[in-house]
Amino acid sequence: MSHDAHDIQKSVRRYLIVFGALLVGTILTVAVNAVNFHSIAITVAVALFIATIKAFLVAGYFMHLIDEKKMIYGILASTGFFFIGLMWLTIWAMHDFPTLAK
């Protein structure tokens, strides 16, 4: 395998750092929620932003996506594309609606 013992030891250190970051992220999410931002939109945006960073850390380091093979990137990219298509088009469709002239 490509990893030798030294590499692994290095990544173990990295895992622990990521672990710390995830804990901080979680606390931050809860903390941010306690702060009143006065606007749902901002709260949502901040919470999702932190969640995305956490997700990126888990996927990137724990799941080794950061140095994965091209084939996997391809699969995930198309999945992402279709997911966004599903969500965005559905929401758009539900809001574009024939309306009476006023």
Binding site: M71, S78, T79, F81, F82, G85, L86, L89, T90, W92, A93, M94, D96, F97, P98, T99
Partner: protein
């Protein structure tokens, strides 16, 4: 014939004997993990369901042609089996009609064509074509088949529960689906969850196999087009099915846990406000359903196109024209098919912007289909065409798919869909693609690969009888439906539309359906029954040939170039003694300067 084959024959035979002792009957035929056995299992089960789905429709066609009249012979049988509340006096009630209609669609799509076109042909042929010993995950493959069987058992059982099977169409639109207070829909949903699981497992397996297990030298651009078609199909299943699974879970929650995912606030049931929390959206179901639904129709057609391509190349004895365009087109279809779904929903209340988006993508996706058909047509030019039974079926596929595809255009433009939506024009459109389209390609595939699987040929003469009768009658079934649909006859009518003509006779109503249009129902039904009889030569030929067909004298009876013919017949466990080395593209027929008119992919 050529040394490699003989050699592999030997080695593989030794191999097989070795296994015979270990594997009992159960392991070999029921719980097999061998892709070929699983392919055959899928094939037999799928054909049985194709037959079953067709029988449902044959009964329904009686009700459409002669509404309210007792079905001769089968009527009393139905009454005995399903109870007199749904088939009293041998007459098909509206209940039963709706059940049969929903189940005809469900069975044809999910229990017959997908298992046949994707799972059966894919399982048997794909690993052989790419020179692999088996599928990447043999046990997952077995689980996929078992999940399919479980799902289909649940579907079949649902006919016999009180109230009968699901009645809300194969599309199962909420709130209707949840408001019918029998358990048919619950069975349908649970059955679907098993079927979806089966397809997902299959899809993972196919993609992994094609990515990982191609023989040395089998580069992407040397893959037979059939493999490409299956590859894209697998992706469609993999990514489009989960949203329907999610929707299925939500509808199941609506049905059994009384949630309101798809039920809006203020819904009323028989004059009373329904005791639900409300707040859901009926359109959400439609979006999630059609997000699968549209890619699903390409799941039904792409494997068929793959089969057509193989058989055309083989029987014109020349390379397929525009292999690269074919590959890019099929990839393009795969991608775009995820963003056209709402063309089924033009009349659910859509503004200009969103419907413009969807009809534009719909028109764009028709272009790769045009390209694929064009390539097939041009491939004929300069060939030396042999008209054997498989070739006849795939040749017929071309204009039949052409009719089906072309009539997709007036549906794809939202403006003309205003008139055509939910009429028999839609029914005719998609049956042209799936029945004389996909089913014909599948028939072609059965005749073509039969000798590989059994070592015997099917009878040519009866094959031709089957072909010509099927061609004539299937057109007589579906062609009149265009006229009926254009004239305004609506689908899913348990009385065959007599309500219109009655209204007309009531006097004074303008624009009702003419008696001639209603009368076409009778013509169509007779054609459908004749079509049923026309399948007898096939069924008999099929079973008779397994035991008594003419034995093939070579492993490659059609003198084909692709790898599946380079194994012993039938292929042993593990397929190839040595992984074959591939040197060239899949369709090197009539290469100038070569002694034979076909050059094997693995010929140095």
């Amino acid at each position: 014939m050529q040394p490699t084959t003989k050699e592999s024959h030997h080695a593989a035979e030794a191999h097989e004997e070795h296994h015979h002792e270990e594997l009992g009957f159960l392991r070999k035929y029921i719980f097999s993990t061998d892709h070929k056995v699983i392919g055959i299992q899928y094939g037999i089960t799928g054909l049985a369901f194709l037959f079953f789905g067709f029988c449902l429709m044959l009964l329904m066609r009686w009700q459409i042609a002669y509404p309210g009249r007792s079905i001769p012979f089968f009527g009393p049988l139905l009454e005995r089996m399903l109870g007199s509340d749904v088939a009293g006096g041998g007459v098909m009630s509206a209940n039963l009609y709706n059940s049969f209609g929903a189940m005809h669609g469900t069975i044809m799509v999910f229990l017959a064509i997908v298992p046949l076109a994707f799972a059966a042909f894919g399982n048997y042929v794909v690993p052989l074509m790419i020179g692999a010993p088996d599928m990447a995950f043999p046990r997952v493959n077995m689980a996929s088949y078992q999940s399919y069987v479980l799902g289909s058992i649940i579907m079949v059982v649902s006919f016999f529960i009180p109230g009968g099977a699901a009645q809300a169409g194969w599309t199962s639109y909420s709130p209707l689906a949840t408001s019918i207070d029998t358990n048919g829909q619950t069975f349908w949903l649970i059955g679907m969850i098993f079927l979806i699981t089966s397809s997902l497992l299959g899809a993972v397996n196919f993609i992994a196999t094609i990515i990982q297990l191609r023989a040395p030298g089998m580069t992407w651009m040397r893959l037979p087009f059939f493999v490409w078609a299956q590859f894209v199909t697998a992706f469609l299943l993999l990514l489009a099915f989960p949203p329907l699974e999610a929707a299925g879970v939500m509808q199941l929650m609506d049905k059994v846990a009384h949630t309101s995912f798809f039920l809006p606030t203020g819904l009323s049931v028989s004059g009373q406000i329904a005791p639900i929390s409300g707040g859901g959206s009926p359109l959400l179901w439609q979006h999630l359903f059609w997000f699968l639904g549209h890619p699903e129709v390409y799941v039904l057609i792409l494997p068929a196109m793959g089969i057509v391509c193989e058989i055309i190349a083989n029987n014109t004895r020349k390379p397929i024209w525009g292999y690269k365009s074919l590959v890019y087109s099929v990839l393009a279809i795969g991608f775009i098919s995820f963003i056209v779904w709402a063309h089924h929903m033009y009349l659910t209340g859509m503004g200009t912007k969103i419907s413009t988006f969807f009809q534009t993508t719909t028109m764009i996706i028709s272009i790769p289909s045009v390209i694929i058909l064009t390539c097939m047509f041009i491939s004929l030019w300069g060939g030396s065409i042999r008209f054997n039974t498989p070739m006849l079926f795939v040749l017929a596929f071309l204009p039949m798919f052409g009719i089906g595809g072309l009539t997709g255009l007036p549906l794809g433009f939202n403006f003309s869909d205003i008139h055509l939506h939910d009429t028999y024009y839609v029914i005719a459109h998609f049956h042209y693609v799936v029945a004389p389209g996909t089913i014909f390609a599948l028939f072609g595939g059965v005749y073509y690969w039969f000798p590989k699987i059994t070592g015997r040929m099917m009878n040519e003469w009866w094959g031709k009888v089957h072909f010509w009768l099927s061609l004539v009658f299937i057109n007589l079934v579906f062609q009149p439906m265009f006229a009926q649909g254009m004239a305004g006859m609506l689908r899913r009518m348990s009385d065959g539309g007599v309500n219109y003509s009655m209204a007309q006779n009531q006097g004074g109503v303008i624009g009702g359906l003419s008696d001639a249009m209603i009368h076409l129902n009778v013509t169509v039904s007779h054609a459908a029954w004749a079509l049923g009889l026309a399948q007898l030569p096939f069924i008999i030929n099929f079973f008779w040939s397994i035991k008594n067909g003419r034995k093939v004298t070579s492993d490659n009876p059609w003198e084909s170039t692709t790898l599946e013919w380079q194994t012993p017949t039938p292929p042993p466990h593990g397929n190839f003694a040595h992984a074959p080395q591939v040197f060239r593209g899949p369709y090197e027929y009539s290469v100038p300067g070569k002694p034979r008119d076909f050059t094997l992919q693995n010929e140095a």
